[in-house]
Symmetry: C2
Subunit: 539 residues, 2 copies
């Protein structure tokens, strides 16, 4: 049984320290008066700069947190994960998203089989396939080259790829437009169908089991649409799915099928074929590989850097400190970079689905269930939206993310003596300070209590490798936090009950479609009311 932190002496020492942090002399304004604050509370490695000087901690607290990391053998567990240990205990699976971006040659055994050659073969297949599409060696039914790719997938088959595609849009020079069809809502399909030319559109259906209700419904709509345009779906569809799933059936006509594996969870899968196929088509395979290399660099850092130098590990410790000891319940992710606009939705899934659990990996119920609510919008937009509450309402910790060199350097127009990028940075630098320092005012409405914690993460620029590093940083942070708290971050049983009930409701709707006199007698009164309303078309 893994060591849980809550009963450890160091946990109680942290609680004592947390009480001390509430004292006026430990207000961030005073902690920040130390001229060495930034040096003492920042790290730089694996291409990221991580500044936690404006977190509410001091060196004693950091030492205790690092003690906790050692007591809970976090680095050992992380390396065990990377080496194929079946840490997804509830599902008896390894968790090897790190293997999807491994360029190592040492064998990596799962159930006695080296998985690396298999994963490398998938990458080679992706490379060849995307080259064939880009060279128009492979085309649609009419012989026209593909200029549009639609990913049909939901959750982990979609959010990571959307984040990376958005972040690297400036590299999309393959004359391919990339769209996502995730929601089963017919509005999603309807809008897309108005937009794309079926003759030049390639559909990528992504589902590990190839039974996801939303994805199957959308794939069928798309197939009907392709057929009704006089095209052969066999020329316009590829699948990314488990070996042997219904989507991998060699008898079912399609351009290609790429495999995903049960040791890679959906929300950790953007570095697998899930992201690899669409991103290689959109950006070119080489960019996808650079993205993988950045992620691998961060994985190696996460696995082997000493605890006190380890960015994702320290960040995970701070998360636990903020949640359990300082009592924060929400975390903001605010990138000062519009291309990172889908980072928060991706981390929202990655983190909340991984660590938003009610029980430990061994089934012990948490008295305080872990898991921040994660949300965010890019800055400065967020400043003009919800930052009123961040500054004067109930505080919550924020990750600020900055990019040193922007992609569009040709626009040098200055306003008030600064470029747009400098204006953006003026705000990036000011918000953490304003939150931390606060300001007194006789007019209470203009009073800022300050003492609001944040971190700042810097990227040099928005290259594929740096996006890989950033992604892997958040993945490793999530996993480290889970290991510390005894969470299994790789299962998601919480989504099962809704699915079970939906499947019963679907069945009764299907019955009604078949037999108009079907009266929903088997449903509870509320569900019955809604079903009658749906079929009546009026409330």
């Amino acid at each position: 049984m893994a060591t849980l932190p809550f009963e450890l002496p160091v946990w109680k020492e942290l609680a004592t320290q947390a009480a001390k942090m509430e004292r006026p002399e430990n207000h961030l304004r005073l902690l920040l008066a130390d001229p060495n604050r930034l040096t003492a509370f920042s790290l730089k490695d694996a291409g990221l700069f991580y500044d936690f000087s404006r977190q509410r901690l001091n060196s004693d607290i950091l030492t205790l947190l690092l003690d906790l990391a050692i007591a809970c053998q976090l680095s050992d567990r992380f390396r065990a994960m990377m080496n194929g240990a079946k840490l997804n205990t509830t599902e008896k699976r390894a968790a090897l998203h790190t293997a999807t971006r491994s360029f190592q040659s040492t064998p990596l055994l799962v159930d006695g089989q080296d998985v690396l050659p298999t994963l490398k073969a998938v990458r080679s297949q992706i490379k060849a396939f995307s080259a064939a599409i880009h060279s128009a060696e492979l085309t649609g039914s009419t012989g026209k080259p593909f200029d549009t790719v639609v990913v049909i997938g939901i959750g982990g088959s979609y959010l990571g790829t959307e984040f990376v595609a958005q972040a690297l849009g400036a590299y999309a020079d393959k004359s391919i437009d990339l769209y996502f069809l995730s929601n089963v809502d017919i509005h999603d399909f309807g809008r897309l169908a108005k937009r794309v030319d079926p003759a030049t559109t390639l559909w990528i259906v992504i589902s590990k089991s190839y039974t996801t209700a939303e994805t199957m419904a959308n794939a069928q709509q798309a197939e009907a649409f392709v057929r009704s345009s006089g095209l052969d779906p066999a020329d316009h569809f590829v699948t990314v799915t488990s070996k042997g799933s219904p989507g991998d059936d060699p008898a079912a006509a399609k351009l290609a099928s790429f495999h995903m594996f049960d040791y890679i969870g959906g929300r950790y899968s953007v570095t697998s074929a899930v992201g690899g196929v669409p991103l290689s088509l959109y950006l070119g395979y080489d960019r996808f590989e650079h993205f993988l290399q950045g992620a691998e660099e961060m994985d190696q850092h996460a696995a082997y850097a000493p605890a006190d130098q380890n960015l994702p590990l320290v960040a995970a410790l701070i998360n636990v400190w903020n949640y359990y000891h300082l009592g924060y319940r929400v975390q903001g992710i605010i990138p000062y970079a519009a291309p990172l606009s889908k980072l928060a939705p991706h981390i929202q899934q990655l983190y909340m689905e991984s660590n938003g659990k009610g029980v430990t990996a061994e089934g012990q119920i948490y008295s305080e269930p872990p898991g921040f609510v994660v949300f965010g919008e890019p800055g400065t937009n967020a400043q003009h939206s919800f930052f009123q509450l961040a500054h004067q309402g109930r505080p919550f910790p924020i990750d600020f993310i900055g990019v040193l060199i922007p992609q569009y350097e040709q626009y040098k127009n200055q306003s008030r003596g600064v470029t747009n990028h400098q204006e953006l940075w003026a705000n990036l630098l000011s918000q953490p300070q304003a939150l931390a320092l606060g300001q007194a005012n006789d007019d209470k409405a203009r009073c800022f209590s300050g003492n609001r914690p944040s971190s700042t993460i810097l990227l040099q620029d928005l290259t594929p490798a740096n996006i890989g590093r950033l992604l892997a940083f958040y993945e490793a942070r999530t996993v480290y936090e889970a290991f510390l708290l005894g969470i299994n971050p790789f299962d998601q049983f919480g989504v099962e009950l809704g699915k079970t009930i939906a499947s019963k409701v679907r069945k009764t709707i299907a019955q009604k479609n078949e037999t108009p006199e079907h009266a929903f007698q088997d449903q509870d009164p509320i569900t019955r009311f809604y079903l009658e309303t749906l079929f009546r078309g009026k409330f």
Copy 2:
């Protein structure tokens, strides 16, 4: 001084009731066993159906909450607001967003002046202007008709319009593409500049003061871009701004200038010229007016329906109950309708900027500062993202929103015996039930504690009028909650300190741009480090 609820006897009675609600016999599973639960805890009026049967309350609690509404004279205050009372006390202004969609003829006096004729004149100006653009009577410098509109604005000058445009995209039949340029980040401008044809693009610069740093920087980039394309900005720009602002200068060449007023706050301004100009260009003025009519219907309902029949008022009472008595800190907004994908970001601003305050309107500090963190994504996407935490982590209340009739009825393909829209509804109906009921299981990882509250709101369809109703519902709910808690929901002093610091940082950057030897001596060590890093271009 307004009556605050916290010292009222009824508040203490509510606290007693809240303690009782924690008992096992008040689990939602048992409350929902009452076959009349839905009838007792749902309302239908002003085009919306509002089901709060799955909130953790009973009729005693509802009665107490309604007593609270009466004790705090909520409806009187709402009507006073609509009649021009200066309820924005800290800024000594009226709060008359409701007047922007008033089609009443009774004069509405502010400082002795009837504002309605002024607001109607702005609407007439918008109608004539959009007609002239649609008929190509007004064109850009080269004589080509406009086919692209870019809104340059941030926060309240952007989020509401984006929400409505996205919701009503199916009505966009004027051959106009609509884009938003909000963030000062040069990536935003760079991407847009690659996408639009300057010869056929109309830029709408929206800023009440016409001094908003981001908007001014973007407007200047756009102007440089227009000039560098050999076009005359006078033919390609309009402004929406306060009378007499720098953007209203008749000497500055532009196509047109539309007025906004200090009695309409940014986040409440989508029914003013802020939304009116872009939405009329995108959808046609008639649709914009239908949208206003829907909003007005909800305003009238909010002002005159009895408390126990009043949708936004009851919803506000439930918010207060959930936040202060049941201790929830986060609210999810989950529309099961992809066109409502920008509802959550809009309500996030509307609500968090309005009610995320540290002090009452009279400057009294809250011991428990009000204001949920509001976030959300459309369902079913959200189910595959963060619903793991919603089902098994720390609970938070959710607004589910459903649409009875979708816009794309031509796609009738069925999967598993149901259409996409029926599949969507199967999920919409199942999630609130799963959250409320929960399910026991010997396997703790598959255990659902249930008792997780939600509301369900239905719209008949996604017409302009219904979007107006939904918008006004959330506006009225926000304002009602503020009135109950003594908040001034119309100011936002919380954003001031960040602006002040940013302006100092901008100044020092501008100095460095001017004088390369400038060494940031006036800055604190952390800010100085970042500024040096920015200018070095490397960390």
